[in-house]
Amino acid sequence: MINQLQSLGRISIDTCTSIGRSGLFLTQVLFRKPRIRRSFPLLIRELYSVGILSLPIILVAALFIGMVVALQGHNTLAKFGADAQMGQLLALSVVRELGPVVTALLFAGRAGSALTAEIGLMKTTEQLASMEMMAVDPLWRIVAPRFWAGFISMPILALIFNAVAIYGGSWVAIDWLGVTSGTFWSNMQAAVGFRVDIVSGIIKSLVFGLVIIWTAVYQGYDCVPTAEGMSRATTRTVVYASLMVLGLDFILTAMMLGDW
């Protein structure tokens, strides 16, 4: 009994310590003296590797998800003679939920894990330590550009996801299943509100982006510098980030559908 209590206490203390350390880490990354002239080229390079290189997986996933939603939606709506509402169903599903959430999950799996592995490997091979000894702060040189690149990329990727998924869905609905084009687009236009739906989706993707990129860079920077430590850190990034995205999605949705 005492041993179990001790274990529980140890786990609680370790968890609190870890949360505190990651909070301090985030503060150190966010509140740095800006060095715009030096930082800008680094940011551009990271925007390419974090954002542009994530595009293919986002585009392909968005296309297929849009097509599947259209197929499933048509199958159900047709039973009630409501297949004219296809555009509305597709747009609201994608813009409010699927866009931000699926993009976030893919982003965590592709860019998040890559960032953790990259920073973790730099730590394991003493690249971060040698940078420190050269009087160059790795938080500024390595972590901050990746953090900001991820934070900027995520909402843009989510918007691209939305557009491509709607395009894929419209292709299935209009060209394949025969829904009238005018009905499809006009219902969609009437149903989707800019503030309620699109801005909500953007806010979600910003929050998800922050959580994913924070988890990814922290896990890489804090990993045990061994092969096993890196492997664990990479797994933790994907698991923690995905679960946090899903949990936060529920909280944000509840807030947005409520009084917000």
Partner: protein
Amino acid sequence: MLANNLSEEFLTVTESLVRIRNLTFYRGNRPIYDNLDLEVQRGKITAVMGPSGTGKTTLLRLIGGQLRPHQGQIEINGRNVPTLKQAELYEIRRNIGMLFQNSGLFTNLTVFENVAFPLREHTRLPEAMIRDLVLMKLQAVGLRGARELMPSELSGGMARRVALARAIALDPQLIMYDEPLTGQDPIAKGVILQLIKRLNDALGLTSILVSHDVAEALSIADYVYIVSDGKVIGEGTPDEIRHNTTSAIQQFIQGLPDGTVPFHYPAKNYAEDLL
């Protein structure tokens, strides 16, 4: 202003460049150093030797300010490293080069870019001058022709030489070598030893060499500390160390498998364990 003050202080001539007093450092509950005293004379090669796991690398990280001791002073030119703020620490580090055991080369940069890295970060020199400086440093380590190679294309010995060129890029006063000979073939060992000695003498550096390659380290060191169980168990010139009669030092120097450092890890009685 701060930079000027620190640079001036760094140039102040005192006998010891690094002075460690009553250093105590723990990893968890395990003491790594217990009231350690050590001095590094200016312009000399000081070797710090000892069995694996005694914290020799930790000592370099403590001197470089990457770790903070639980107690004691680590002074570089009279400035106590553990009490420095980050900006002051970084200013001091510009005068310190460090060669890591894994070389620590940036794997996404070429040899040239690796050596140019500290120059680009800390100076505003024109690109032509950076190029000349990098080629001079690479020439010093014999790798001018390898400037376009990536770190993955280098052998272990070459990678250390590139890391050495990078470590001396800003012409530091102090250079710290962490196990530079580990895993090297005899030719690479000879090259690295010769470079350490030559650079120290030619550039007027002060070097701290952490190693457990006894013969090689004794061949170039001016002064030697042997560290074990968190304490200095012997010190002196290489000759004094060779002729030291302390059993722990002789065991280490001669590589004897059993002695003060036992062959067997502490365990209960063998017969009891088998029955």
